[in-house]
Symmetry: C2
Subunit: 395 residues, 2 copies
């Protein structure tokens, strides 16, 4: 809305300027990767799918979940309209509203003034508790809950902390500038005020998602991550494994996807005490080169997570490393992977794959899942519409 | 040590790739600022002063404090030798040691393989508890404790959490790549294992420190930060306000500096509800332009922090924004500024200035200091020496 953030400054004449190493195939990368080329700083917000899913992964993450305070469907619609408009504006590098508003507070909080769009994406999803909480149909949405939006089973290795799990609405913000990413989450918090309050938030950096034009990153265990991940250019794989479709999903989810977000703490000091062979055999790849081991051990992570062991199912991962102080009482860093994957149907993908590997692959020794959330992310919208409109207008 | 991280990959034939808006002057910036120019990716580790103090501020921070486990001066010397060598190697983009070590774990943890030096700096400092703890002269260093390394008084607005305060040894890691910064802290933790354990750690981004060649950044309140800060090119100001000297400091601190690190939580939702005039009057500047207000209010932050109100004392600030989940029970982001400043003598600079502004400037309403540390950062060393050698060899 209004002028761009850079424009504002100009007119004021200011010069300021997986871990899951591979949850997919025991295969070669899908395509040869080239050096990054010049990229458009704007990722279009409007479209058939929400931005931030089949988008080459950016460098920074802000992710969180919000609880809706009341039980008014009108408020919920208003919230999603406001958030949609703000996300669309920020994706273009615009402010979400004026700073000079007379006696009222600035609408935009201002810390991204002078910064570009930085490939910002904002992706919204609805948690199970938005449909039913404590047996109550809060917003008249219970009958529209998608069958794939199931409660996850308890997995081996789970040590979930309820205050960093779930929530009514999940938001994934990604950008190539950490200040642009935080500004977006900050302004969504501010705009949601009185209707939705943040339950948990986490910052991330690095990435596991990728594209044919992106170099492979390394996770905090020092291994390349994403070697056999689905790349965003593979439309057939996205149709097969990412985009929700009927009949498994309801019509309002067609072209959407189910985000599973797992905060996976790595016992980094234990890992650091493991010798190179032990590390490589846990993953199934060479550490430096990323190549498959000559003999991939049967209990290695990539073997147990491979499509051949999982009814040819694949996961499209888009996670980020996180660092969050020290583990209370442990004198060790609280760090790991914010594992994020998008599923066509978690009942066929994340859940059976995680049941197969948790506590069984050699990597499990080093991992504790401390956060867990699943969100049904609706499809994208055209300008004038709002995310979730088809669902919320049917209540 | 050994080849560069990029070299390792090449040889393997892998293609992978303030808040305190101004604690200083009511003045114009010290020099006109130009657009960033091409920068050398290496900041020299060895020299008269430690790197990371008079270094143009990088984009990312990892900061933390370690407690020394035992009371062996020999172990302490060994630790500082090991850390010095590792910091020097990583500053060049080298590994800290081999990955292939037979049956022993890799020395380097590997997540920075393929990444450049990214202007990494590692800055070490000694806390008061290294000299005396519980009345005990742990390492025979008590008589060498510098007079400027005082315990801070309790300031108005302090709500300090002991587990994120102080520590025997503080380490500030900065780099222009968050993975390079984390890798450095990670490997220092690994190398320090059995001698020193991390007490607290924090990640940051953005910056308040600056140089004539850097554009001014904005803090998370949306205001430009660092307008009147000392720039690193101002050698006279660094001599006057940053570098320790006799007689106030002992000879082993000559050319060093005292780091004061304060974790300042911002009540962002309260700030976000304040109108533009109120925000501008709290700071003393216009939000968009960064210009001084036509009339700078007497209780504004920049007025009370100005040298004219503080015996012409100045602070050299080098802080970073942080974001750390939600405040327990508050449904609001736990975010703010990791305020870091380097003092020639905190008794003349940080302490009297903070006593003057805390609870008195209009910004105080929004701020809570939850972490606090002071470290005596020794001077730099030549290749072959180690940080703190003059102190530790005198015990």
């Amino acid at each position: 809305m209004e002028s761009t953030r850079r424009g504002i400054l100009k007119s004021s004449a200011i010069g300021a300027g997986a871990l899951l190493a591979s949850s997919a195939a025991l295969a070669k990368p899908e395509a040869a990767r080239a050096a990054p080329t010049t990229i458009d700083p704007v990722v279009p917000f409007y479209g058939a799918h929400q931005a931030g899913i089949a988008t080459p992964a950016q460098e920074y993450l802000q992710i969180g979940a919000f609880n809706v305070v009341g039980d008014s469907i009108a408020d919920l619609r208003k919230l999603m309209k406001t958030w949609t408009e703000a996300a669309a504006a920020m994706s273009l590098g615009h402010q979400v509203g004026a700073l000079r508003t007379g006696s009222r507070p600035p609408v935009d909080t201002g810390e991204a003034l002078g910064l570009g769009p930085a490939q910002l994406t904002v992706t919204f999803g609805f948690g199970a508790s938005l449909f039913t909480a404590g047996g109550k149909d809060r917003f008249g949405l219970a009958r529209h809950r998608p069958a794939p939006l199931v409660d996850l089973p308890v997995f081996h290795g789970d040590d979930l902390q309820p205050d960093i799990c779930d929530g009514d609405i999940g938001i994934q913000v990604c950008a190539n500038d950490p200040q642009v990413a935080f500004h977006a989450m900050h302004d969504l918090i501010k705009l949601g005020n009185a209707i939705a309050a943040p339950k948990w938030l986490l910052s991330g950096f690095g990435r596991t998602g990728n594209s044919t034009v992106q170099a492979l990153p390394r996770n905090l265990m020092g291994f390349q991550d994403g070697t056999a991940n689905i790349v965003v250019e593979n439309a057939a794989a996205l149709d097969a494994f990412v985009w929700a479709a009927e009949p498994a999903s309801p019509a309002w989810m067609r072209g959407g996807s189910y985000m599973v977000a797992r905060r996976i703490q790595i016992a980094l000091s234990l890992w650091d005490q493991t010798n190179l062979n032990g590390q490589q055999e846990a993953i199934g790849r060479e550490k430096v080169s990323g190549n498959l081991l000559p003999v991939v051990p049967p209990t290695s992570h990539i073997m147990l997570a491979s499509p051949g062991k999982n009814s040819n199912q694949r996961l499209y991962r888009r996670g980020f490393s996180y660092v969050d102080g020290v583990v209370a009482g442990a004198a060790a860093p609280e760090t790991g992977l914010m594992f994020i994957c998008y599923n066509k149907d978690p009942r066929e993908q994340f859940i059976p794959i995680q049941l197969r590997i948790a506590g069984k692959d050699a990597l499990s020794t080093y991992l504790t899942h401390i956060g867990s959330s699943v969100f049904a992310c609706p499809p994208g919208v055209k300008s004038g519409g709002y995310i979730g409109e088809q669902l919320l207008s049917s209540a």
